[in-house]
Every structure is written in structure tokens, then in C-alpha cells.
């Protein structure tokens, strides 16, 4: 008998993958404007660092919330003792109002349907524990957040079956892809319990269209399964189209009193919208009372610190502040994103048109030495070591096409972003000079891409050459 559990000795947490190489390199040589201007710039971290000044100035004006006081009286003891897993009512009330505001007040949320958890990481895992078990699977559209491999599968025993999305239609979910994924799960003898989507998408940075949402609702109704909508980036939508939550779709279609209503669950967090990942504030929103009851008990394993709940209940209850924050934050994100897009453009690099998130989904397929994931890794290593930018390769997000990279823009100043773009431009420029013939070959191959790309991934460049000859 092994000394430890299978969970402790397996690799399902996914953290031994070679992608962490980029992170390690960054840790060894992190960019600093003053101390280390030649260091690696971190563009692999989806953090929102653009609006801390707004929070800081709010704190300056609200000293009570800052120091365990309410109306000038100390409430330290009450907070220190408060461990009710139903959460601080004032916080939940303020949170649902905030969620509503982000959705243009087109949906109202009921605080009694909210379960607070230590981050969306905990929320997603908890939902899995409630909805599925060993032998079950959830369908996820690719590309998806790499952390899902750990959060959804590791301790729960649940499997993920990908819904393959492609650049041919901007990576949108199609009925065919949904059905194919469902069949794939059946072939693997897995019982499909639901679909999990991230909307807005990580890593795409796009909001889901109403058509996609309708498609999803129809699909889960037909198959009688769950839908989890991870809306952690809902507050980062900085340009049209406006964010449409799945709850809005259900409401618009008058599905409020039907079975499917209780099978749609939302995950939220303040880590991206407010830029507070350290505070571990996540939430599950469900219309199924059994799920709410079970998840509430499970939240015992990862509650939100009462100190943090109290602070944020004060912040989010200030409606004047939240309105201002949401508006300013969106503007700043939009500005920074357009700088990234423009900078990439100058280097001859395009990206998926996006209107949300803290990153862009960048198209570097034309820079690959071959249409393979090996080539993608090759290119990625060059970008980490030579260009000194840490970005995330698409394969880490289970993208079906090599050559896409997620590049974050909201965790740095304008100047650092500018520098990053300059480095990239120089790198591309030098590539052009040195690899001109290589480039020509790649350009000609590009014409074949649409025909061959999906069926020929993993073939090496040399093999391909021979085939085509």
C-alpha cells in the first residue's frame, strides 16, 4: 500500500508541466524599471493592476471600514468571531448589487442563492463536488484557462472533455462541436454532467454572443445537464458588445420556472474585476436550493475571511463608488488593450478582436517554423529567453491550433507595455533579416494552413516538407 494518497502522487494538479518554465525564468530574472530593465516582462499574469488608486482613495475617505470599526465603534470582536458559513449579509447584499450593476441591471440576483468561497478556484471545485463525481465529465470549450485542469479534476475525480473551437469562426462554440464533444465523452464511457464556459472568455478576451448562449441553453435543456458560467471577467468588458450573462438569457426566454433554471450556475470573484486576488473572494450563484445548501456546507473548507468580507461590504455598498469604479476601470482597460493591439500590429502581429478580459489572444501562427505544437514551444522559448517576455502558449490552454498566445496587458504600466512592444518589434525585425527564406517558406505554407492544419498537427516540419513535395 502506498504511503500517500493517489491524489498526492499523481500529476492531475497540472503544475509540473513544462509551461512553468516561463514562470521560473521570470522569477529568476524579473523586469524592474529601475533595478532590472533587461529582465523578463511578465505578460502571463492575468491581473488587473490599473485601478488601485481608486480603491486607495476610497480607503482614505472611509477609515472605519479600514480599521474594524462601524460608526466609530470597534467591531473587531464580532468580526473575529464571525464564522457563519452563510456569510456576512451586508457583504452578500452588496455583492449581488455589484453583480447586477455589472450586468447593466438587466438581471437581479438573490443573496440567498449566493455561496461565498475562497476565490473562484474554490467555487469551481466546490461546484464540481456538488454536481459530479468519478466517472463523470464536464465539457469545456477550448481554449480554456489552464487552472481548470486542477480546479475541476484533481480532487474531485471528474474529467474534462474539450469542445473544440477553431479560428475559422473566431473560436465560437458551434452545435456540431458541442455534439461531437458529447459523443467523445460517451466513447470514453464518461457520463456528461454539464458544460462549463468562461464568459467573458479566458484566454480569448471575448464575450459570448447571444446565439452561443442560446445554443448552450438549448443543449443543456436537451441533454438534461448543467451549465456553469464562470463570469469572473464580467466586469472587464470594456467595449461593445455589452456583456450578456446566461441569467439574462434565461430571463428573456422566460425560463424562470422551468427545470433548466435550476441547472444553470454562475461563478464569480473579485479577483479580476476589482484586482483583489489576494483577498480570496469567490462566489457560487445557483437557483438550485440543494446545490446552495450543499455548497454552503462545503464552503467551510474555504470561507472568506470576515475581515475581508467586512471591508468589501463597505466598498461595494458605496454605490457612487462602484459606479465610478466600473466606468473608469473599463476605460483604462480599453486604453491599455488598444495600446497592446497597436503595438502588436506594428510588429506585424494580429490578434483576435476582443472586448473584455485582461489579455489578448495573439496570432503568431505566421512565426512558427512549422504548423506544430513543437514549433509553438520553440517560438515560446525564444520569446521567453530572447525577447524576454513571459507570455502563455496556446497549448497550455488546450488550443487545438498551434501558434496562438495569450498576452496580458493589465498588470503593467503604459511604459512597460511600450517597452514590451518595442522588444517584440525588434525581435520580429531581426527574425525577418535572418530568416528571410524561412519566412518565404512559411508564407507559402500558410496557404495550405486552412486545408491541412487540423489534421496535420504534431508532424514535424521536415515530414511536412516531404509530404508537400
Amino acid at each position: 500500500m502506498g504511503l500517500l494518497s493517489r491524489k498526492a502522487t499523481c500529476n492531475s494538479h497540472g503544475q509540473d508541466s513544462s509551461y512553468f518554465l516561463g514562470w521560473q525564468e521570470y522569477e529568476k530574472n524579473p523586469y524592474d524599471e529601475v533595478e532590472n530593465p533587461q529582465g523578463i516582462i511578465q505578460m502571463g499574469l492575468a491581473e488587473n493592476q490599473l485601478s488601485f488608486d481608486l480603491l486607495e482613495s476610497w480607503l482614505a475617505k472611509n477609515p472605519d471600514a479600514a480599521s474594524f470599526r462601524r460608526d466609530g465603534q470597534s467591531i473587531f470582536k464580532e468580526l473575529a468571531l464571525f464564522q457563519d458559513y452563510h456569510g456576512l449579509p451586508a457583504f452578500k447584499n452588496a455583492l449581488v448589487d455589484f453583480m447586477s450593476e455589472i450586468r447593466g441591471n438587466k438581471v437581479k440576483f438573490d443573496p440567498s442563492h449566493v455561496v461565498l468561497t475562497a476565490g473562484a478556484t474554490s467555487a469551481n471545485e466546490t461546484l464540481m463536488f456538488c454536481l459530479a463525481e468519478q466517472g463523470d465529465a464536464f465539457l469545456l470549450p477550448t481554449p480554456y484557462y489552464p487552472g481548470f485542469d486542477r480546479d475541476l479534476k484533481w480532487r474531485t475525480g471528474v474529467e474534462i472533455v474539450p469542445i473544440q473551437c477553431t479560428s475559422s469562426n473566431r473560436f465560437q462554440i458551434t452545435a456540431a462541436a458541442l455534439e461531437e464533444a458529447y459523443q467523445e465523452a460517451q466513447r470514453k464511457n464518461l457520463r456528461v454532467k454539464g458544460v462549463l464556459v468562461t464568459n467573458p472568455s479566458n484566454p480569448l478576451g471575448t464575450t459570448m454572443t447571444r446565439d452561443e448562449l442560446d445554443l448552450l441553453v438549448n443543449f443543456i435543456t436537451d441533454k438534461e445537464i448543467h451549465l456553469i458560467s464562470d463570469e469572473i471577467y464580467s466586469g472587464t468588458v470594456f467595449s461593445p458588445p455589452a456583456f450578456v450573462s446566461v441569467m439574462e438569457v434565461l430571463k428573456d426566454r422566460n425560463l424562470g420556472k422551468t427545470q433548466v433554471w435550476e441547472r444553470v450556475h454562475i461563478v464569480y470573484s473579485l479577483s479580476k474585476d476589482l484586482g483583489l486576488p489576494g483577498f480570496r473572494v469567490g462566489a457560487i450563484y445557483s437557483n438550485d436550493p440543494i446545490v446552495v445548501a450543499a455548497a454552503t456546507k462545503m464552503s467551510s473548507f474555504g470561507l472568506v475571511s470576515s475581515q475581508t468580507q467586512y471591508l468589501l461590504s463597505a466598498v461595494l455598498s458605496d454605490k457612487k463608488f462602484t459606479k465610478e469604479y466600473i466606468a473608469k476601470s473599463r476605460k483604462r482597460l480599453q486604453k491599455q488593450q488598444s495600446k497592446l493591439v497597436a503595438g502588436l500590429g506594428k510588429a506585424g502581429i494580429g490578434c483576435l478582436e476582443s472586448n473584455a478580459g485582461l489579455f489578448c489572444w495573439v496570432d503568431m501562427r505566421h512565426l512558427l517554423s512549422s504548423d506544430t505544437f513543437e514549433a509553438e514551444m520553440e517560438l515560446w522559448k525564444r520569446i521567453v529567453y530572447d525577447v524576454k517576455l513571459n507570455i502563455s502558449p496556446g497549448s497550455s490552454c488546450h488550443c487545438s491550433e498551434p501558434g496562438w498566445f495569450r498576452v496580458c496587458f493589465a498588470n503593467m504600466s503604459e511604459d512597460t507595455l511600450k517597452l514590451a512592444m518595442q522588444r517584440l518589434k525588434s525581435f520580429i525585425g531581426s527574425m525577418a533579416v535572418n530568416d528571410r527564406s524561412h519566412q518565404e517558406l512559411k508564407n507559402s505554407r500558410r496557404k495550405f494552413r486552412t486545408k491541412w492544419v487540423f489534421r496535420l498537427s504534431f508532424q514535424s516540419f521536415h515530414d511536412r516538407e516531404q509530404d508537400e513535395r
Binding site: 498526492a8 491581473e47 488601485f52 480603491l55 480607503l59 480532487r155 435550476e262 450543499a294 475571511s305 471591508l311
Partner: protein
């Protein structure tokens, strides 16, 4: 709702079973408290809460420290320059200063006999999260852990619910002062083996909840040698370590293994600030394992329950203030000792004894002489009398899986001095009144009259689930009563 029934089949077994242990017949009893909570002026005849193991004796010291250290908060003018860095800090290694502060505290609480390595400190969502995480690391669904009884009711949820493990109780007897004997361990282990139950380890709480006693060195050495022999794990939940208020001193398992030849890969400690400091709301749990693989795995799993960085920052400052910590620990012990003494001596005077204890936020009261008969049924009847007539909310031993009826856990650190007096007075009155009626049959009639018409399931049902854990006795919980913060907003 009809849909709910149909949709239920689409949920996991975990979501729909009762292994969280929170659906308990004891819930009925608690309604008496919730509907009639004691208040010195508004409701002096209400029920006094003595079922909540909270440490409320030293908040004045903490509040003073907070006022004097505004830069420990990232939100005050003095500390806001650190707001951004802390707000984005989600590294599962946790803040270095926080780990250092915790390591120092653990060392100090262990009598400065051991040095704890800050790099081995792994955080978790309270001890609740820590215990579950350790189980996920050490055992697979279907495996089991031995646990000496009586034990904390929350273990049923924390160790079993989502992990799929089983608990095998190791019965400890009052004739032995509830000591964990090698013989009892061996017997429980062998019985499990015969039933094809794969025992992966032993989990003990030291100091014990509900007993309030510390483990002696001999017992601890015996535990270490037992797990070493069987090549199974030993998990020591030391959450009450600093609530030790008189001798013998608390000895951490870390100290024991320093002088023993044993496989350190088998030894793991769980700690928390919820009891020692009185901060259950801050959700600070710690896993300290001597096994590198477990440490690394637990650290990755801590992603599911990290301590808020805002809280880590505050507590780092507090725990690194060594003068404050020293003073706090000394003062806390003093106050706990005084409180414990007030209750146990007060009870002795009216002929009620309790297990000799020197730690914890409660004592283990012996009501066996007052039982109609030595059964769980009688214990629960007496329990209802205590709640409804004496108006004290205490916890019956059966909810801790105690193998002998008649014991009750009584918490003493969650009230002010005045309430202590009221509680003592009520117990005195109750016992003396009972003694006045010499006739035994009269006595039992008297008690039967006092029973409320509460629903009661037979003892067999109580044992069906293998657990009896009312919401109030496990943390975190849906507390009854609701805290003032909840009341104020709802």
C-alpha cells in the same frame, strides 16, 4: 419544488448524502436557545450559551494592539502604501512574514522546545480546511483513520465527507481518565483489518476536544511507536495548544519525535488561530507536515482555501510582535485558568465533578450520577432538562461519540464574568433542588415533567449515521444564535 426532485438525480452523491453530519436531531434542542437567548438586561432568564468553544477572553488585548499598530492594516493611512502589493498577493507559499510569525507562535506555544521551520508552514481555510487537506494527501476513498473517542463532532465532515474516508473510533474509558491506551489502539486496528478496512493512520486532538486534557509524553511516544510499527500516519490536531492554562505543559508531537527513532514522513500537525487567539472568522489553518511530499501536495491544495492576504498581513505584524505575543499568551492562560477554576470549583461545591483538565475552552462534566439509567436515551433526556429547565446550552457526550453516557462538554470562555455567575447559580439551584427530593422515583418523575415535547429519535437512529453533530458544535457553522453582525443586517 417538483423540479428539485428531478434535478436531484443530476447532483453528486456527496451533495445529496448526509455525511456532512449537519442534519442532526440535536438541532431541535438548539431552537430553545435561539428563541430564548440569555441577555443580562434584556433577557436575564434566557438560555446561556455553553456549547460554543470560542475564546472571547482576550479581545481587549488584541483591540489595544490594533489601535496601536495602524500600519498592520493595509487600509489605514499608515498602511495603505502596501495595499496593492498585498491585494495582488495570491502565492500559495503565503506571505513569508506570516509564516515566520506562525512558526514563532507554534514554537513558543510548544514551550520553546522545538523550532518550527517557516518554510514548512502551509496555510489552509481554517483547521477545517487543514484537516480535510491532510486527509486528501494521505488516503484514498474507502480508506480509514482511527480516532480516539470522544472526539470533535466536526471530524465527521472534515475527514470523511468529500474525501470518502471512514472513521474508526478508538474507545477511551473514564476508568482510564479517557487515556488512549496502546491496547485500545491495537484492538481498533485489528478489528478494522478483520473487516477489510484499510487503516491509513490515526488522528488525535492534543489538547483534546472535548476532554480539555493534554496528552502525556508516554501516550504520545506510544502513539508514535504504534504508527511506526504499522507504517501508518499520525495526524496531531494541536488547535488548542495555547489554551493550556496549567500543568502539565502542552507537548507538541514535534518535540516527541525529536527524541525518538521514527519515520518522520508519518508525522503531521494541524494548527489554527481560531482557538488560541480567538480568530475563527479569519480562517487561519495551518498544515505542518514532516513529510516533504505531503507538504508540497498540501501547499498546492491550499489554493482551494488560502488565507486572505489582508488577514495574513495583519496577523504577520501581530505575531512578529514578540513582546505582545508573550504577554498575550501569559494573560490568556491566566484568564482561562481563572474561568476554569470558577466553574469546576463551583460545580464541585454542589457535588458535580468533572474530568481533571488543564486546557481547552471547556471542561468535561460528569453527570452520570444524575442519569436515570446509564443509557444515551437518559443522557439526552437529561440534556433536554438542562436546556429547558436549567437554561444552559451544553453538549451531550454522545454527540462526541463518547462510549459512556452521562458526560457533557461545557464551554466557559465565550461569556463575560457576570454570565459565569448566573450560570453557576443556575446549576447550583438545579442540583440542590434535585437533591431535596430523596425519593428516586419522585426524582425521575420530576425530570420527566420537565421534558419538553421535542421530537426525539431513538438511539439506534443516532448511531445510524455514526455521528451526531449539531451545527453549533462544529466550525464553521450556522451559529445559533446569530451573531450581532447578522442580526444587524437582516
Amino acid at each position: 419544488m417538483e423540479f428539485t426532485r428531478n434535478n436531484r438525480q443530476l447532483l453528486s452523491k456527496i451533495a445529496t448524502n448526509d455525511r456532512h453530519g449537519e442534519n442532526s436531531p440535536y438541532f431541535d434542542g438548539w431552537k430553545a436557545y435561539d428563541s430564548n437567548p440569555y441577555h443580562p438586561t434584556h433577557n436575564p432568564r434566557g438560555v446561556i450559551q455553553m456549547g460554543l468553544a470560542e475564546n472571547q477572553l482576550c479581545f481587549d488585548l488584541i483591540e489595544k494592539w490594533i489601535l496601536e499598530n495602524p500600519d498592520a492594516s493595509i487600509c489605514t493611512a499608515e498602511g495603505v502604501d502596501k495595499f496593492k502589493d498585498i491585494a495582488i498577493f495570491q502565492d500559495y507559499h503565503a506571505l513569508k512574514e506570516f509564516r515566520e510569525g506562525v512558526a514563532k507562535l507554534m514554537g513558543r506555544v510548544g514551550g520553546n522546545r522545538v523550532i518550527f521551520d517557516p518554510n514548512r508552514i502551509v496555510t489552509s481555510g481554517g483547521a477545517t480546511g487543514a484537516n480535510e487537506t491532510v486527509m486528501f494527501c494521505l488516503a484514498d476513498p474507502g480508506d480509514a483513520f482511527l480516532v480516539p473517542s470522544p472526539y470533535y463532532a466536526g471530524f465527521a465532515r472534515d475527514l470523511r465527507w468529500r474525501t470518502g474516508l471512514d472513521l474508526v473510533p478508538v474507545d477511551c474509558k473514564s476508568s482510564d481518565n479517557f487515556r488512549i491506551t496502546r491496547a485500545a489502539l491495537e484492538e481498533a486496528y485489528e478489528k478494522a483489518q478483520r473487516s477489510n478496512i484499510n487503516v491509513k493512520g490515526v488522528i488525535v486532538a492534543n489538547p483534546s476536544n472535548p476532554l480539555g486534557t493534554v496528552l502525556d509524553k508516554e501516550t504520545m511516544r506510544s502513539l508514535v511507536s504504534f504508527v511506526n510499527d504499522k507504517n501508518i500516519h499520525l495526524v496531531c490536531d494541536e488547535i488548542y495548544a495555547a489554551t493550556t492554562f496549567s500543568s502539565p505543559r502542552f507537548v507538541s508531537i514535534a518535540e516527541i519525535i525529536q527524541d525518538m527513532d521514527c519515520n518522520r514522513d508519518l508525522i503531521h500537525i494541524v494548527y489554527s488561530l481560531s482557538k488560541d487567539m480567538g480568530f475563527p472568522g479569519f480562517r487561519v489553518g495551518i498544515v505542518y507536515s514532516f513529510n516533504d511530499d505531503v507538504m508540497n501536495c498540501a501547499r498546492k491544495m491550499s489554493s482551494f482555501g488560502l488565507v486572505s492576504s489582508q488577514t495574513q498581513f495583519l496577523l504577520a505584524a501581530m505575531l512578529n510582535d514578540e513582546e505582545f505575543v508573550g504577554n498575550f499568551l501569559r494573560e490568556s492562560s491566566k484568564r482561562l485558568a481563572k474561568r476554569h477554576h470558577a466553574f469546576t470549583k463551583g460545580l464541585e461545591r454542589v457535588g458535580i465533578s468533572s474530568l481533571k483538565s488543564n486546557a481547552g475552552l471547556f471542561f468535561w462534566m460528569d453527570m452520570r450520577p444524575l442519569l436515570k439509567e446509564q443509557t444515551v436515551k437518559a443522557e439526552l433526556e437529561l440534556w433536554r432538562v438542562i436546556i429547558n429547565k436549567v437554561k444552559l446550552n451544553v453538549s451531550p457526550g454522545s454527540s462526541f461519540q463518547c462510549s459512556e453516557p452521562g458526560w457533557f462538554r461545557v464551554c466557559f470562555a465565550n461569556m463575560d464574568d457576570q454570565t459565569v455567575q448566573v450560570a453557576l447559580e443556575r446549576i447550583r439551584e438545579f442540583v440542590l433542588q434535585g437533591k431535596e427530593e430523596d425519593d428516586v422515583s419522585e426524582k425521575s418523575k420530576h425530570w420527566r415533567k420537565q421534558n419538553l415535547r421535542l421530537s426525539f429519535s431513538s438511539s439506534s437512529r443516532l448511531y445510524d449515521e455514526g455521528l451526531m453533530s449539531p451545527a453549533h458544535m462544529i466550525s464553521p457553522h450556522s451559529p445559533i444564535p446569530r451573531s450581532p453582525l447578522v442580526r444587524a443586517r437582516t
